[in-house]
């Protein structure tokens, strides 16, 4: 199992486990709610609710 760290879920206030090697800008799924969370900073890790996908996103 990959290394994990804990961070606060901005939607529920709970501590959640996320991969230890997250990058700023990466999207992680909240294990509690399934919501997409964006990594805003690392060291310490802060998360925000990720913006919705827009019409022209993707390949």
């Amino acid at each position: 199992m990959a290394d994990t760290i804990t961070a606060e879920d901005p939607l529920t206030g709970e501590e959640i486990e996320i991969p230890a090697d997250v990058e700023v800008g990466e999207i992680v799924d909240s294990p509690a709610t399934g919501a997409e969370l964006e990594v805003i900073s690392v060291d310490p890790v802060t998360l925000e609710e990720a913006p919705e996908l827009e019409e022209d996103w993707g390949e």
């Binding site: 800008g25 990466e26 964006e38 827009e54 996103w57 993707g58 390949e59």
Partner: protein, 288 residues
Amino acid sequence: MKVGLLYSRIRRDEKLLLSELRDRGHEVAKIDVRDEQFSLSDPPESFDGVDVVVDRCLATSRSLYITQFLDAYDVPVVNSAATADVCSDKVKNSLALERAGVPTPTTEVAFTTDSALEIIEEFGYPCVIKPVVGSWGRLMAKVESRSAAEAILEHKATLGHYQHKVFYVQEFVEKPGRDIRVVAVDGEPIAAMTRSSDHWLTNAAKGADVQPFEVDDRVRELVETASDAVGGGLLGVDLMETGEDYTVHEVNHNVEFKALNDAVDVDVPATVVDWLESTVESETEATA
């Protein structure tokens, strides 16, 4: 080298690239497009000293404008503004393929629902309506009857954005339950996979089953020509098997490769970085 990675979301694709670049000791500047401001004359500070910018913007509009700005600043960017312009628009994409003699599905465009309906009736059922800008198979419609066509066209006409009133109608290609995605750099295939699904849409983003595909001479030739037709770069060329030949339905400029990397033995991000290194090297030699 110093690589600027333009992003608004770090997907697994970007993470694979970042790891490969850092493992090789390259300097990487991650540039979040949401934080940048672009003047007409000078690049933002985030671009200082970069040898090449890799455009991994998710939003097509951002990608189109920023690559234009980078061109204006003489900052090398992959893919180029010209490639992004052709690939992001299905009409331009189809025109480029046709012009280059690459077999591509029969396509017609109209600007009113009545004219679009005439095309659809002419094509017969089923046929396909695609948005001119879009991705991941969203808003694609397989039209199986006149009444469905009328409803889809009416809905599209009320969606709001003018692009939805550009009606792009395409023949339905009876593919063998799969299509082929080739990821290539300047026309040279890195690896390829088939994408299979019971659904008529076989996008990996829609959960299609992916398997490695061995590129044959004909696919190699078509990928090279299709790549040249859209201006080259790091591209995803999509083909369908028609029985005796292939037809190229699309060339993608913001190519996702994580599914391909999982499906094949080739190290896709490593090969992309090899190409970036040689691109920067040629650029440096050209300006020396």
